[in-house]
Amino acid sequence: MSNKDLKSTVYDRQVRVWGANAQSLFENSHICLVNASASGTEALKSLILTGVGAFTVVDGAVVTEADLGKNFFVEEADLGKSRATSIVEHLKVHNLFLKPENAIAVHEDPIKLLKTSPEFYSKFSLIIVSSCPSDILNEFTAFCANTDIILINVRNYGQLGIVQSFVKEQCIFDSRITPPFTDFRISNPWKELRDLAESLQPEKLDASDHGRMPWLVLMINALDLWEKQKGKRTISYQERKEFEEMTTQWQKAEYEKAVASHDPSKGNLDFQFSPPFENLDEGMRNIHRLAKVELPDETTHLFRLLEEREARMKTVFDPQEPELRQRFWVLTAALRDFVKANNGLLPVSPTIPDMVSSSLFYGKLRQTFAAKANADAQQMLELTSAYIPATGTGEPLLVMTFEEVYNFSTKAGMTLCLNYAPILTLTEKTESEANAARHSNLATMIGEVPDQVMDYFSLYEPEHNAVWIPLVAAADIFRQRHNRFPGQANSGDVVSEAVDNPRHAAVVSKEDFEKDVEDLRTIVQELCKQKGLSLSIASSDLVRETVRFAGGELHSVSAIVGGVVAQEAFKLLSHLFLPLDNTFVYNGLPGVVFTGKL
């Protein structure tokens, strides 16, 4: 039986969240993990469970005791073996449907590979750079900006977890953002909806039907009556009471007339069931939906991006682009033309909420919406053809199906396009003007840092936690100078040669620790001066906390940010939901989170 096949059962609980289309887009992706740290491995684990079709792990390190303490996908028998190979072996069993050739381990230094054969990385849909110092991250940022590959940086630094995303241009077919209002077209019903409402005016109803009228129909009729009385179709906040009163009186009067003339052969009336009816309550709860719905800001912004694109490229369709993006812009252009041709209105969505009403009336209403959604999608489909060039033999370069257009047009208000700035590390080699603006934005977000770590600072102002970005950058600069992170031991047992350290495991003396605090403080000060950030960062307790973190990964924090990366990777690859733009910081000590655009 097809509906019970293994794959649909395994993925049932997640496909309920995002649907089969998003699942299959995701399954066709190839994800690359750079450096199999704990956080990166955790991210990959969730993505493999979710069903990603192919993955590659690039890591030149071997498995050490340090890995056994933080990474679940290595075991004692792997000690001394290639970390990439061990992790791929342990991870691949978690996707039942993975083809063996699509689980790839590359035992090489990821950064050397990027320098010698960058084309190796060009085949991926998404690259996750995990727990790499920012000089390595900068190289991947530059590569991804040039090649149009999605990049996510994940970093676990003691109790800190950082996630940063970059996509040149993210086209989102269905952002599922909560719209201010869905347009049910109550203020300006199309012909068939108006006809339906007219046929169901209170004076035309049997007494038993008054309470079974969907509020949406009732409100269209009430708004018409309001217009007759007031000469306008708007209801101010102060007039709401008056509007309710008017509708109540009207419904009551018509109901009583209908009762008087009721034909008993049509059945007995239930007098328990009399005005005021629930449909009016529901209607009043939705009174804000009676106002004319303006084109969403997101859509206006999208059309502006389209114009810029046309001005830049002199065309909507670009055969060089990935197909999904070609489709997105052709559909967006059709949508713009549709809106123009329909007095600023978006195509209708067939989705209406459940409401108190009889099956019959609700069914009629639903069918009216469904028919209009179909007709609008059909019009959209016709509009796309103007933007699709033909081949020499007259074949269109892109074939649009009705289903595809329907999916787009019924979500029209949810369509978005995001342009990301490259990941900001504060250790970039060259400074651009754009970055200067970003530094001053960062300076504003962080503000002044009190000398003492105080509860209110960390707890109540999550946005101040952007402060960890310069602090971790300073730790990276420290590492370049000292070949270890501040707070790490200088000698002792070597536990890791991997890019993510720690290199040695040994207790650090109080004197050495304090020296690191002062050295880091100096670096933070230099960095803040250079980037225009408040010098109070350098004098605060937070420098000391950074040294305490000692550049190490904790499994718990790695699993938190690993999960965040997996959610974000799915959103970016499926072009569904609104992704993070562009920075997430978890500060585990008080347990607070910063999210924002840096």
Partner: protein
């Protein structure tokens, strides 16, 4: 290589947090070595070995905990495999806690996970007493309420066991820290729990509009043709029967969209679940456990994660509710009308949003006045409170989620309307 040596190598990043004091650390009487030892010897209970439980077990095993216990009564289903990574296809039908424990014990040397198969409500209080921390990854409110009340009761007897509670649904999840008698308990904030959506019976019976209404109709009529047995979402025959009836009904009322997936979802009240969200929420709980065991500050008190519109994280400080039925005074006063029946009174208690009682039973002067399991108390529902209790009375009310020795005192005063 000595054990100490291996510990130092494996847990170096955790030890670094202990060796040099944080400004976030309360002044401790313990030396760093004592704290390390303290962390490694905590006895910890994981409630639920499902989506969150699997992640929690992995997290604890790699955070220095070695004495880990896990309880679950469930068996493994194929639909768990998209997130419950300690299970494979071959494990289907086996008990979750045993398979999960075996996997972690195999993978992480030096860790011992002890499984229990059964209902948490059947475990004796003496068993709960032995734990230092409890992490709950449950999928239902009733079990959470019971566990919370049990731990608050222990705290009243000076056995303080922190509870870290996680929950997830789709791209949303929440994690919270409950230190019984010190911070708000689960019951203090029942208002944060959204009551289940139920459809009015008349909609199901005569005005179906959406596919779920048709399935509810099938569920409602299922017992009539199955010897009074309720429909069971784990039995293929039952689901098929409901699917058939629901599709028939949908056709009759011109409703589209009744399929197998939807039918199963309604029958089993399926909660959508993702690997990624479980990872985030479980790890948040584990990190709090780690901090508690390292004498670091804990999160205050509740964190809600939402990944659907960007990333939205709401931290929420929770206040203890002095009138909480579990950790507060546990006493409420109600004015009762002269002709108000016991049935009415019970309905009022059930509708109270802060109490959210499901199936309360009422005791007066040591005798059961109403208990749905005792048929002889049924007629009392129709009697007036005045005739049953007099003008002033103190009733003892309890519910299934409340442990045996815990009650809500309801003082009633009968007066005209």
């Amino acid at each position: 290589m000595s054990q100490i040596h291996i510990q130092q190598k494996r847990f170096d990043p955790i030890y670094k947090q202990i060796e040099h004091a944080s400004k976030y650390t309360e002044e401790a009487d313990l030396s760093p070595e004592e704290i390390k030892d303290y962390l490694h010897t905590r006895k910890i209970l994981v409630v639920g070995a499902g989506g969150l439980g699997c992640e929690v077990l992995k997290g604890l095993a790699l955070s220095g905990f070695s004495d880990i216990h896990v309880i679950d009564l469930d068996t493994i289903d194929i639909s768990n495999l998209n997130r419950q990574f300690l299970f494979t296809q071959e494990d289907a039908g086996k008990t979750k806690s045993e398979v999960a424990a075996a996997f972690v014990n195999r993978r992480v040397k030096g860790v011992k996970v002890v499984p229990y198969v059964g209902n948490i409500m059947d475990q004796p209080l003496d068993w709960y007493k032995t734990f230092d921390i409890v992490i709950a990854g449950l999928d239902n409110v009733e079990a959470r309420r019971w566990l919370n009340a049990t731990l608050v009761n222990l705290a009243r007897n000076d056995i303080m066991i922190p509870m870290l509670d996680g929950g997830s649904e789709g791209l949303f999840g929440q994690a919270r820290v409950i230190i019984p008698q010190m911070t708000a308990c689960y019951e203090c904030t029942m208002w944060t729990v959204t009551p289940e959506v139920t459809f009015p019976v008349c909609t199901i019976a005569s005005n179906p509009r959406i596919p779920a209404h048709c399935v509810q109709y099938a569920i409602m009529h299922f017992p009539e043709s199955h010897d009074g047995r309720k429909c069971d979402g784990d039995r293929d025959d039952d689901v098929d029967w409901c699917l058939n009836v629901a599709q028939e009904r949908a056709k009759q009322f011109n409703i589209e969209g009744v399929d197998y997936k939807l039918t199963l979802g309604v029958i089993k009240n399926v909660i959508p679940a993702l690997a990624s969200t479980n990872s985030i929420i479980a790890a948040l709980c584990v990190n709090e456990a780690l901090k508690l065991a390292m004498n670091l500050t804990f999160m205050k008190h509740y964190l809600r994660y939402s990944g659907s519109e960007g990333i939205n994280v709401q931290p929420l400080e929770m206040e203890m509710n002095p009138d909480c039925i579990v950790c507060g005074g546990a006493e409420i006063s109600l004015d009762v009308g002269e002709d108000e029946t016991l049935g009415n009174l019970i309905d009022r208690l059930k509708q109270d949003e802060t109490l959210q009682l499901k199936n309360p039973f009422v005791i007066f002067n040591g005798n059961a006045v109403y208990n749905s399991k005792l048929p002889f108390t049924e007629p009392n529902l129709e009697k007036t409170c005045l005739s049953l209790f007099g003008k002033h009375a103190e009733l003892t009310v309890s519910d299934k989620f409340m442990p045996d020795d815990q009650f809500l005192r309801v003082k009633i005063k009968v007066g005209p309307g």
